[in-house]
Amino acid sequence: MTTTYAPAPVPTFEDAGTEGRKLCIICSKGSLDMAYPGLVLANAALGEGIETHLFFTFWGFDMINKETMGHLQFTPLGNPATHMPPMLMGLPGMTAFATHMMKKQIEGIDVPGVPEFLEMITDAGGHLWACRMSADMMHLDEDDLYERVEGIISASDFIDLSAGAQVIFV
């Protein structure tokens, strides 16, 4: 290997790609496996200094509903990615078993559960929003939701909020 002597470069932490960049992630699923993509990406974006908003809609409400947020489940039923015989996946107890296994795997790589993950994201400056229509459909109000949710907003509010942002739908 050749060694060159040069003046030390200084990392440009405030690069043009990050400056003014904004990310909105729509979380529409309430299963354990589908909760993580949005959470992991939001956390990564915040760590890069990017303004980040999470918008919870439909089944995504389970991620911010105080009653369910700590108990999301994973079902292998109808999921070919588990590479297991489909007939067995519908057996009683299979969802509980698969959920238990997945939680263990997630813990095993030191990734937090959903409530702690949301705490981490908001500590890092992330914003949480709940969808008006979902709240109305499920008869839930702000008291039913995780206390760090900033508000229940309409679809048009979300469109305003996401002006100029990159949007990811999960």
Binding site: Y5, P9, P11, F13, V40, G47, D123, G125
Partner: protein, 104 residues
């Protein structure tokens, strides 16, 4: 491989300027690296740096923000105050460590 002189030390750096050999780092160098990215080190910065250095020496990995909060005793909010914008990467740079590779 590039050898650069920073604050009177000859050190190996990567293309972005991160040290590639943590053992070439010392306290004086940290002050110089911090100044280059506009930081003035306080006791709390040093607490974060010392933990990151020890943790890297023990586990071979640069701690993520989650690890800094849960094990290192520097809460996430504070990390964003101490190292604004990109806390984990800025800490790694000042501490002479590679960027953290973990996703969370």
């Amino acid at each position: 491989m590039t050898v650069a002189t920073i604050g009177g030390h000859d050190v190996h750096v990567d293309a972005e300027g991160f040290l590639t050999q943590p053992e070439e780092w010392d306290d004086g160098l940290a002050e110089v690296l911090a100044a280059q990215i506009g930081l003035e080190l306080t006791d709390r910065h040093w607490m974060a740096i010392r933990f990151a250095r020890d943790d890297h020496a023990t586990n071979g990995e640069t701690p993520t923000l989650r690890r800094m909060a849960n094990v290192g005793g520097v809460p996430t909010k504070e990390m964003f105050t101490l190292f604004p914008g990109k806390p984990a990467k800025k800490l790694a740079y000042v501490a002479g460590l590679p960027k953290p590779t973990g996703c969370v």
